[in-house]
């Protein structure tokens, strides 16, 4: 397999508004044909970064290379990049067809070509029956598809999506996540999506970047980020994580009550330094049968039944917050627990991640 080609290289890009630094020296490579997610809490700089890719903001520093050409100062209407706005920004005085044709008319293409390309994209996005409707006559999901069709019909090198599913309800959202992925494969265009929803980027992205305070914390596949978060913030932000605060030792972390959590200590952490050991809820076993490196006992405080599995809140001496433990429906049936029960928890050293506090 050959190394995938880099389409977009973001090179030490910074942007400040007055005294506020929105994006602080971010470097990222986005590959041809990939579904890339920019993830972070609000105010992390992801939207500013996206607006710089679209051309609505100009970086104060750094380069944005598209196919090797610096487009940092190119006007939005002069770059082969399209943005799907969070508000969809459909033109309210134009029909669906006129909205989708608009971008091709700007390219001064022959009317016949505009017509056939618009017809094709309306078919792909299942909008043919709505072609003559005005945006206000469409549902949220239909508007979202029009916004997508309007951007895709331009056949951009790069499609940017700003919180594309934010306005949809949860059920429709799940369906649209898969729909977006399917479309991305079908049209073969690189997608960059901005989201604050970590679940969404785990589901959709081939690779993702986690941002905080304008800085890039980690850029990798969803699996790698979930299993090997770069720091405590990423571990906490992506998925659910149990933390045990303590001091770093040679082969783990010593908790406040003297209990030892075994795990691989990063080389940068010197013994005695403040550290935190962490483990995912699904890696913890209830009443472990065999030998496990880490063990503790606690009291069940609450149970949350979630159909596929059962989530337990267990009060342990290890941490001020209750441990979250995820038990499959199967296991819960075999050995039922209820609120107030004493339970034994165990997990392997390989499932422990240790970070500087």
């Amino acid at each position: 397999m050959s190394e995938p080609r880099t389409l977009l290289a973001i090179d030490k890009v910074s942007k400040n508004f007055g005294r506020v630094t929105a994006v602080d020296g971010i470097s990222l490579d986005i590959r041809e044909n990939e579904f890339f997610a920019l993830l972070g809490p609000s105010g992390c700089g992801k939207t500013t970064l996206l607006r710089m890719l679209a051309g609505f903001e100009t970086p104060n520093d750094g380069r944005i290379l598209l196919d090797g050409r610096d487009i940092a100062k190119t006007l939005p209407n002069k770059r082969p990049v399209n943005l799907m706005f969070q508000s969809y920004a459909l033109f309210p005085h134009m029909s669906v067809r006129a909205n989708v044709s608009y971008g091709l008319e700007m390219e001064r293409l022959p009317a016949s070509e505009i017509r056939s390309r618009v017809d094709a994209i309306l078919a792909t996005t299942e909008l043919v029956p709505f072609a003559d409707r005005k945006p206000e006559q469409l549902s949220g999901g239909q508007k979202q598809r029009v916004a997508l069709a309007r951007a895709l019909v331009k056949r951009p090198r790069l499609l940017l999506l700003d919180e594309p599913l934010g306005a949809l309800d949860k059920k429709l959202r799940g369906a649209m996540q898969l729909e977006l992925k399917r479309l991305q494969h079908e049209v073969g265009i690189t997608f960059v999506i901005v989201t604050h929803d970590q679940e969404e980027s785990l589901v959709m992205a081939d690779r993702m970047a986690v941002l905080k305070d304008g800085k890039l914390l980690q850029c990798d596949t969803p699996h790698a980020i979930y299993e090997h978060p770069a720091d405590r913030f990423v571990a906490d932000f992506i998925g659910v994580m149990n933390f045990v605060p303590g001091k770093a030792a040679a082969d783990g972390v010593v908790a406040a009550d003297g209990a030892r959590i075994s795990g691989k200590v990063p080389a940068t952490l010197s013994p005695g330094a403040s550290a935190v050991a962490s483990v995912r809820p699904e890696r913890i076993r209830l009443f472990p049968s065999g030998e496990t490196a880490n063990r503790t006992t606690g009291t069940v405080e609450a149970l949350a039944y979630q159909g596929l599995d059962l989530q337990l809140h267990v009060r342990t001496p290890l941490s001020p917050k209750p441990f979250l433990v995820r038990v499959t429906a199967d296991a819960a049936d075999r050995r039922p627990v209820s609120s107030g029960d004493q339970v034994e928890l165990g997990w392997d050293a390989a499932d422990v991640r240790i970070f500087a506090e």
């Binding site: 679209a54 209407n77 706005f85 309210p92 971008g103 005005k134 206000e136």
Partner: protein, 290 residues
Amino acid sequence: MTRPSRSSLLMAPALAWLAALMVVPCALVLALAFFRRGIYGGIEYTFTLENFGLVFDPLYAGIFLNSARIAGTATLIAVVIGYAAAYAIAAAPRRWQPVFLFFAVLPFWSNYLIRTYAWIVLLNREGLITQLLRWFGYTGEPPSMLYTEGAVIAGLVYNYLPFVILACYAPLSRLNPELAEASRDLGASAATTFRRVILPLTVPGIAAGAVFVFVLSIGNFVTPALLGGGRFQMIGNLVYDQFLTANDWPFGAALAMALIAIMLLVLMAQALAANRASGHVTQAGGGTDG
């Protein structure tokens, strides 16, 4: 079922007011137009259509056309200047917008007559503008600005500009800024974005402002009297003269009715155009009763 009765109850004071102070006087004036003028002034109560015939006399029809031309020119200038001002205000930082709007309507705080007299001070032969020119070294004849058609138009534009600014500001400030960005993103230049996105979406405001200026201008008589020096008669002056100088109330009434007819036509045309242009887009009402 309680709704219609309650809403008609709420509307009753306004309807009574309109009936007593608008419909009745208008009906009286309309009736007046069908009578004959007495030989020594006054009214002779015999039915005639002569007064309306006289309205179409080339002499008076010419004044109508002239008024429409002056009002039309004033409207055009007011819309261009007012739209630009409204655009600039809507583009300003949010917290400054009320301040700018306050300054735009500030002239309304003083009397219409006083404001028009101020223009005389400005445009006079040795007025402020001439003195400013002199200060810059101009030594020739003072320009004749007062008592020209230009002065009348300038006065009308000045007086009604705030209406246009307010009428255009409303749709401009409500416009989602992402619409213009979307247009740029899809490959349109700034000029094309204005022509195809911003302008069509703010036409209702332009139309409302334009109708205001036109209707108020075409019937105006103070500005042409003061700034036109009586040399540029508009319908308003003509009506005024018939009632107060010539003492021909029936003809004055017929002229006034013709003026009202023109205004109604303009308003209806605007309503029709607004309906067609926006279709079901801008009006948020409609289906709220269900």
